[in-house]
Symmetry: C2
Subunit: 222 residues, 2 copies
DNA sequence: GTCAACATTCTTGTATACAAGAAATCGAAC
DNA sequence: GTTCGATTTCTTGTATACAAGAATGTTGAC
């Protein structure tokens, strides 16, 4: 029961950030959070520090914590790194996968296909997470797996926006197909290239989105 | 002056870990550390949590913190990831470097050469850090730079052991030469390959070292 | 003599009190 | 009317007190 208070707080605040209840730039008052969750400031501070370590919030000395608001170009940089890490995971997976890995990867892939067929964006979203997790798993590099999961998680809110884009699900599924084939074939370079492209396109789409928003803002008078 | 207490504690403990004063597996008693540094337990706890976030120590609920003792294969995994991140940084650097980047990279390279000539392992060690930092810098991807610096730092104690190995400095310098040429030439693939090899060899050497120690331990009766 | 259970002690986890720095507001002077 | 400064208030940073769980040692029974 102990120490889970911090964990719980961390998750709650994190959810608040992902769900938009706590928008970027929002100030996080320790006292207020403490009374809101019915605990003292101590565990709140610890939770905030953990979130700060992940990069989700920013703690400015003596000036409190705010929800981090990474500049768009920073998010793009993160997608660049993510692409490379995924490519690496794919390359290793293609060389090291076991029979169990094959099974898991194919199962996740079929889940994605099902969700795409019914055009269920939410279901696709979760199936997609499992798909990528299966690749990390098959890389048989525990550290790489951790890094990928952490970054994947951190980019979640930016990826989520993108499934709305027209045909994104179909395209994504086609890309998955190429990835699966390469991994099961043991073609490390092809797997890496396919994954690199699969992720890079998300960074590009994110950039487009930002550009659109910027254009919309400056073009249309408020 | 405030908040630096935590920073200071973090650095002190970190130094203790790197220097071996706090060996892996050592239990870190909050009360003891607090009285040792003349502060209360609160900032000590915060420092420990930060170190835990980096992965340098491990906090077991209700059972205190111990200096992390990553399994050798985990360290090897970390070198694998480091190799890929450095390769990525090198590739980007070769495409994006500015005149200032060239200058900085060459200066760091020459520093390394000087240290190697005088066979000054410590000096080489620091020059080498600057050399790699210059590459991260030239990648013009701030997030990648942060990730590289963090991992580089975390692998520091394992890298440090290796300069003692015969001819390691000369070989390292030759590898640096290849890397510099590739980056300044704008040959992204060659830069990536050179850096990947440069780091991978360290992982291999680490493995050899572990194997040697294991063999020595089981071979020679205590 | 050994094993198990209970009690004691030690350490962590949480709450609260206190101190110090930052921000905001109010007032005065230009 | 605006700007600069001081005071007050609010929030964070640190210390300490208290509670709860884990580890260890002792005692008793088999």
């Amino acid at each position: 029961m102990s120490e889970n208070i911090v964990q719980k707080l961390r998750d709650q605040i994190e959810n608040g950030i992902f769900s938009g209840t706590l928008p970027a730039g929002k100030r996080l008052d320790e006292t207020q959070l403490a009374s809101q969750f019915g605990v003292s400031r101590t565990p709140v501070r610890e939770a905030l520090m953990q979130l700060s370590a992940i990069g989700l919030i920013e703690i400015r000395p003596r000036r409190g914590a705010i929800v981090a608001e990474p500049a768009p170009h920073r998010v793009y940089e993160m997608f660049e790194v993510m692409a490379e890490l995924e490519a690496m995971a794919g390359a290793h997976a293609s060389r090291r996968h076991t029979q169990a890995d094959r099974t898991a990867l194919l199962a996740a892939h079929e889940d994605c296909a099902r969700s795409a067929q019914t055009a269920d964006a939410d279901a696709y979203y979760y199936a997609n997470e499992s798909f990528h997790a299966a690749i990390y798993d098959a890389s048989h590099n525990g550290f790489l797996q951790e890094q990928c999961l952490a970054l994947h998680r951190r980019l979640r809110p930016y990826r989520r926006l993108q499934l709305r884009v027209r045909n994104r699900m179909e395209n994504s599924l086609a890309e998955h197909d190429r990835i699966v084939k390469a991994i099961l074939d043991g073609s490390a370079d092809e797997a890496a290239a396919a994954l690199r492209a699969h992720i890079a396109v998300q960074g590009d789409r994110f950039s487009d989105l930002i550009a659109q928003i910027a254009a919309g803002r400056s073009g249309v008078p408020a």
